[in-house]
C-alpha cells in the first residue's frame, strides 16, 4: 500500500513489536496506536528501551518480530515513509569532517518543508558555533543541534530523543517555547523520549510509559490528571475524608498525612474537604505514574546521562 490521502492521518501503529539482542529482550510485545498530529511523551528510566523503540519505528534498526505501520505503511526501507521522519538520536554520530555549518547546509536537502528561519533563529538563540566541527561540540551543543535540525525539518513524524541532555535552564526554556510555537504553527506528530517527567509534562498531550521493555501505560495527560487527586491534612481528617476509597500512596510527616486517591471528587466532597481544612490538588503526572507503582523514573535534574541500545 502506498501513502495516500486516505491513509495519511493514521499515525503510528505498533503491534506486538519485540526487539531482542541475543537473550536480552529489550522490547517485548509492544502494542500501541499513536494517532497523527499529537505530542507524545515516551517516558521511562534510562535503558528501558525508549531509544530502541524509536529506532525501530524509524527503521534505524530492525525489529525481531511484530508489525510497525506509519500512515499504514511499513517504514522498513520505505523511502516514501522514511522521508516524512526526522530522528536525530541523543548519541547521534555525524561525519567528523563536518562543521555545524556543513550539517545545517545539507539538512534542508532532505526536507521540502525545511524552515530556514527557524533554523537560523534557533542557531542564534542556542548560540551554536557554526564553524566548530561536530566532534568538538559539548553535550549541550549536541542537544541544541539536534533540536535545531529536528524542529526546522518540519517532518511529519518528529522524534526527539532525550532533548534536554546537557541543556541549561535557559536553553531548556528556549526548547519549550520553540517546540510549542512550531507545533502550533505546523502541527505534526512529535514523539519525545525522556526520563524526566516533570520537565516534559507541560509539553505533552499523551504519554506512553515504558517499563522493562513493555508499554505499561498509555494515557491522555488530562485523563491522567483527572484520574487521581492528592489529599493533604491532619491524619485523622484525611482518613475520615477518604473513607473506603483505595489509596494509591500515602506519606506521613508528623501528624500530617498526604494520600493519593484514584477517582474524582464531586462538589459536595469538595465542600466537605474545605470544611475539614484539607488540601485537595490534582496529581502531577509524576505523582500519578509513581502512584501506579511505576517507580523507575528519574526525578533528578537533567544530567549528562545517556541511554544506549545494547
Amino acid at each position: 500500500m502506498t501513502v495516500t490521502e486516505s491513509t495519511a492521518s493514521r499515525g503510528i501503529e505498533l503491534l506486538g513489536v519485540t526487539k531482542s539482542f541475543g537473550s536480552n529482550h529489550v522490547l517485548t510485545d509492544v502494542t500501541a496506536h499513536l494517532p497523527a498530529d499529537r505530542i507524545y511523551g515516551l517516558l521511562g528510566a534510562n535503558g528501558v528501551g525508549k531509544t530502541t523503540l524509536m529506532s525501530l519505528i524509524t527503521n534505524h534498526a530492525f525489529r525481531s518480530s511484530g508489525s510497525i505501520l506509519v500512515d499504514g505503511d511499513d517504514p522498513d526501507e520505505n523511502a516514501a515513509v522514511r522521508e516524512r521522519m526526522c530522528f536525530v538520536r541523543e548519541d547521534q554520530k555525524y561525519n567528523d569532517a563536518f562543521s555545524v555549518k556543513d550539517i545545517l547546509r545539507v539538512a534542508p536537502a532532505f526536507y521540502p518543508s525545511w524552515a530556514s528561519e527557524t533554523a537560523d533563529r534557533l542557531t542564534e538563540r542556542f548560540r551554536l558555533p557554526l564553524t566548530t566541527k561536530s566532534k568538538r561540540l559539548s553535550r549541550g551543543q549536541r542537544s541544541a543541534l539536534a533540536i535545531v535540525v529536528t524542529l526546522a525539518s518540519r517532518a511529519a513524524y518528529t522524534f526527539l530523543d532525550e532533548p534536554y541532555l546537557g541543556l541549561d535552564a535557559s536553553a531548556r526554556t528556549i526548547f519549550y517555547e520553540e517546540l510549542v510555537a512550531e507545533y502550533a504553527a505546523h502541527p505534526r506528530t512529535v514523539l519525545l523520549s525522556t526520563h524526566l517527567i516533570d520537565e516534559a509534562a507541560p509539553l505533552l498531550e499523551e504519554v506512553l510509559i515504558l517499563d522493562q521493555g513493555r508499554i505499561v501505560l498509555q494515557t491522555d495527560i488530562d485523563e491522567a490528571s483527572r484520574g487521581s487527586f492528592v489529599v493533604r491534612g491532619r491524619e485523622s481528617d484525611v482518613l475520615d475524608f477518604v473513607g473506603g476509597r483505595a489509596l494509591l500512596t500515602q506519606r506521613r510527616l508528623g501528624g500530617l498525612l498526604s494520600v493519593t486517591v484514584r477517582g474524582e471528587l464531586n462538589n459536595e466532597e469538595h465542600r466537605r474537604a474545605d470544611e475539614l481544612r484539607l488540601s485537595v490538588e490534582p496529581t502531577s503526572l509524576q505523582e500519578f505514574v509513581a502512584a501506579l507503582g511505576i517507580h523507575a523514573l528519574d526525578q533528578s535534574a537533567p544530567q549528562n546521562q545517556t541511554e544506549k541500545a545494547p
Binding site: H60, A61, E77, V88, R89, Q92, N95, S99, F110, S153
Partner: protein, 238 residues
C-alpha cells in the same frame, strides 16, 4: 533521483574532505618527489645522472599516496554519513546510490587531476630538474588514457574497500569487521597463490594485456567491494 541527490549532497557537504583532499595529497606527493629529486641532484649535480633518471621512471608515489585517505573517506561515507542520512529520513539504498555517485565524482576528479599534473610535468620538463611523479612507468609514461584510468580505478577501489568495511562495521560490529578483513586478506593471498601456480598462463595474459591486466583486476575488485557494500548495507544499523 531527488532522494539520491540528497545523499549525494550529504557526501559533498564538505568538499575539501570528499573531493579536494585527494588532490592535495597528490600535490604533496609531487612536492616531496621534487624535493627528494632536488636533494639527490644537489649531491650528484644537474642534469641528473642516467641511472637516477632511470630510477625516477619507477616512482610509485601516485600509487601509494591516495589509497589510505580514500579508504578513510569510504569508511566515513558509509559509516558516519549512514547515521546522518538515516537521521534525516533517507533509506539505506538511497544512501548507497548517492554515495556511489559521489565516489564516481571523487575518482573522476583524481583521474583528471593526475592527467593535468602529468601535462604540467611534461610541460615543465619534469619540474625543471628531472623529477617524475606522474610521467612514470606504471601510468604508461605519458599515456593520458592509462593515467586517467589507473588513478580512477585506484581511487574507486579504495573508496569501495573503505565503504565495504564501514558497512560491515555498521551491520555486524567490530568482530565481524575484523573477520571480514582477515577473509579479504586470505582471499587476496589466495589470488596471488593462484597467479603463482598458474604463472605460465598469467604470463601469456600479461603478454597480451600488459598493465591492463592489473587494471582489469582492480576494476573487478572494485565491483566486488561495491557489490559487497551494497548487499551488507541493507542490514546496516545506526
Amino acid at each position: 533521483m531527488t532522494r539520491v541527490n540528497r545523499t549525494l549532497r550529504l557526501y559533498l557537504a564538505n568538499k575539501s574532505w570528499s573531493l579536494y583532499s585527494p588532490l592535495y595529497i597528490l600535490g604533496i606527493m609531487t612536492m616531496f618527489s621534487v624535493i627528494i629529486t632536488g636533494i639527490i641532484g644537489i649531491n650528484t649535480g644537474f642534469p641528473l645522472p642516467a641511472d637516477v633518471r632511470e630510477n625516477m621512471r619507477y616512482n610509485g608515489g601516485a600509487l601509494y599516496a591516495p589509497p589510505g585517505f580514500l579508504v578513510s573517506v569510504g569508511v566515513l561515507a558509509m559509516n558516519r554519513n549512514f547515521a546522518m542520512a538515516l537521521a534525516l529520513g533517507s533509506t539505506r539504498k538511497d544512501l548507497w546510490r548517492g554515495t556511489s555517485l559521489g565516489f564516481l565524482l571523487t575518482s573522476s576528479l583524481v583521474g583528471v587531476g593526475a592527467v593535468l599534473a602529468l601535462g604540467l610535468e611534461r610541460l615543465t620538463n619534469h619540474w625543471f630538474i628531472g623529477a617524475r611523479a606522474f610521467d612514470v612507468q606504471f601510468l604508461g609514461e605519458g599515456d593520458v588514457l592509462r593515467t586517467f584510468i589507473t588513478m580512477f580505478l585506484l581511487s574507486i577501489l579504495s573508496l569501495y574497500v573503505g565503504a565495504f568495511f564501514g558497512t560491515v562495521f555498521r551491520a555486524y560490529g567490530t568482530v565481524w569487521t575484523a573477520i571480514a578483513a582477515i577473509l579479504v586478506t586470505v582471499g587476496l593471498l589466495a589470488l596471488v597463490a593462484l597467479a603463482v601456480w598458474q604463472s605460465t598462463r598469467v604470463s601469456q595474459v600479461w603478454d597480451s594485456l600488459g598493465a591492463w591486466l592489473l587494471l582489469n583486476l582492480a576494476a573487478a575488485l572494485a565491483l566486488l567491494a561495491a557489490s559487497g557494500s551494497y548487499a551488507v548495507n541493507r542490514r546496516a544499523l545506526v
